[in-house]
């Protein structure tokens, strides 16, 4: 049986990854994800995990090593943040195009410049279109659970895609939380050994990472897109299995007090926890507020969103990244586009919040809800709390 423990979430993520028995871990340290690979290297050095820990010279090499190792049929894991993730970017679409289920934890951090090591979502948003399955954890328990779930999702024969789990830098990576840590027997029962679709080996003839001429490139891209879209079915199945075995429920969009809600906040990541308290406070004041917490970012859960917004008059979408010169934050653009064809859609407003580690508190979320009630802001999207 799993045990309830108090542990820093980055260390817990490493423990969870180790429970999945990865064969190869390649990572390069960068704040704030560093404790994840650091702790994994401890676990390997202590002999608790029989894995190859590759100390690479850069993030580009880390993801390349994982790509190559995964090609040989190894279960692989890496972790990074911010500039490190951007340095990986060249390889990210290759990993997904090669249909290799590399698993990556991202301790989300702002992008330079100005140089900033604190938390927002601008690192992952640059990687939105790389063809990876992408999940957002809101707390330590979700981080641990998702790290284990995603091996099963990514390796499923109907998916065969890399997966990233996003956990907010510092706000999650460096925080100690009570976590129910599954034990080895439970994880072994949930997660079978990895059986690759194909593996590089002298006895098996296979070429990976082949050339795609104009005659085939578009078909290849369509095939990858269909695989990512269809992965949702497996994600839901795996989440059902998880709920059955571990009793914790996962949904692409988790609704909080939205049954009779008039206005709802939308969050991704750890700020959902703060927003929940804001919703409770607003309810006490008679405001019919609710909250939608997005856990599945790619493939985007269009149907779940349409269901979740039924009856809601105003959606206040929060973004923790900027799309410079664009229509608003990336989450906002996505949601507005997803609801365009819905006849009775809510008014949608966009607050860009918590950039580069700016603290957003309960009162701020309450303030956003009050201001969004009109269904319109003075600007198309607002940098919340910016001075001037």
């Amino acid at each position: 049986m799993g045990k309830r423990i108090g542990m820093e979430i980055a260390l817990a993520a490493a423990e969870a990854a180790a429970l999945c028995r990865p064969d190869v871990i390649a990572a390069y340290p960068i704040t704030p994800n560093t404790h994840i690979p650091e702790h994994l290297s401890d676990i390997v050095a202590e002999g608790r995990l029989d894995a190859e820990f590759i100390c690479v010279e850069s993030e580009h090499s880390a993801i390349s090593a994982c790509c190559g190792a995964s090609g040989t049929g190894a279960r692989t894991f890496t972790a990074t943040s911010s500039q490190g993730l951007l340095y990986m970017q060249e390889v990210l679409p290759i990993v997904s195009a090669m249909r290799l289920p590399v698993i990556m934890a991202i301790g989300n951090r702002a992008i330079s410049g100005p140089i900033n090591i604190w938390n927002d979502h601008s690192d992952i948003m640059y990687q939105r279109d790389t063809g990876w399955v992408s999940l957002f954890a809101a707390n330590g328990q979700e981080t641990v659970d998702m790290v284990i779930q995603v091996f099963k999702i990514g390796e499923h024969r109907d998916v065969m895609l890399p997966v990233n789990i996003n956990l907010d830098g510092f706000q999650l990576t460096h925080v100690v939380e009570p976590i129910i840590m599954p034990d080895q027997e439970e994880v072994d029962r949930f997660l079978p050994a990895y059986v690759p679709y194909a593996a590089l080996h002298p006895d098996n003839i296979v070429s990976m990472g082949t050339l795609g001429m104009p005659e085939i490139y578009a078909e290849a891209q369509k095939s990858k897109n269909v695989a990512l879209v269809n992965s949702k079915k497996v994600i839901l199945e795996v989440w059902k299995e998880w709920e059955k075995q571990f009793g914790r429920k996962y949904e692409p969009i988790q609704s909080y007090r939205t049954e009779d809600a008039d206005i709802a906040l939308v969050t991704m990541g750890s700020m959902g926890e703060t927003a929940e308290i804001a919703v409770d406070e607003l309810r006490k004041q008679g405001v019919k507020a609710g909250l939608l917490k997005i856990k599945l970012w790619r493939p985007f859960p269009f149907d779940d969103l349409k269901k979740a917004v039924k009856g809601i008059r105003v959606l206040a979408v929060t973004d923790r990244a900027v799309s410079f010169g664009g229509p608003g934050g990336p989450v906002f653009s996505e949601i507005r586009s997803a609801l365009y064809d819905v006849p009775k859609r809510p008014k949608i407003v966009n607050f860009i919040i918590g950039l580069g580690g700016r603290d957003i508190q309960v009162e701020n979320f309450m303030d956003m809800v009050r201001r969004a009630t009109k269904g319109k802001l003075s600007e198309p999207y607002e940098f919340y709390g910016v001075r001037g």
């Binding site: 003839i205 070429s207 795609g212 005659e215 085939i216 078909e219 095939s223 695989a227």
Partner: protein, 97 residues
């Protein structure tokens, strides 16, 4: 795993565009790119093999007499062999000539 030819539709694309047939790249004849072809003057050739060593396509081979020739199925006509050939035994001539 079933063998597939060049996929006609996206449904036929192997996952990851993996190819399970060995040597399939040799079926792609890069010689069609060529605008100029190398011609050897064996009277000038000293059989040093510099052309063979420098050919980036690896398509130059030695014949039984020790002279060299390019496999025109793969020779892209880059001209590196002609450039490197210091006895100037190789000249590049236009394909249409």
């Amino acid at each position: 795993m079933t063998e597939k030819k060049w996929p006609e539709t996206w449904q036929e694309v192997n996952p990851g565009c993996m190819v399970f047939r060995p040597g399939s790249a040799s079926e792609y004849h890069t010689g069609s790119w060529r605008a100029k072809r190398p011609i050897w003057d064996n009277a000038k050739c000293i059989k040093c093999g510099v052309c063979y060593i420098y050919c980036p396509e690896g398509c130059i081979t030695e014949d039984k007499d020790g002279f060299f020739e390019a496999n025109l199925d793969y020779c892209k006509g880059c001209g590196i062999c002609a450039h490197e050939c210091w006895p100037t035994a190789i000249v590049m001539v236009n394909e249409e000539d």
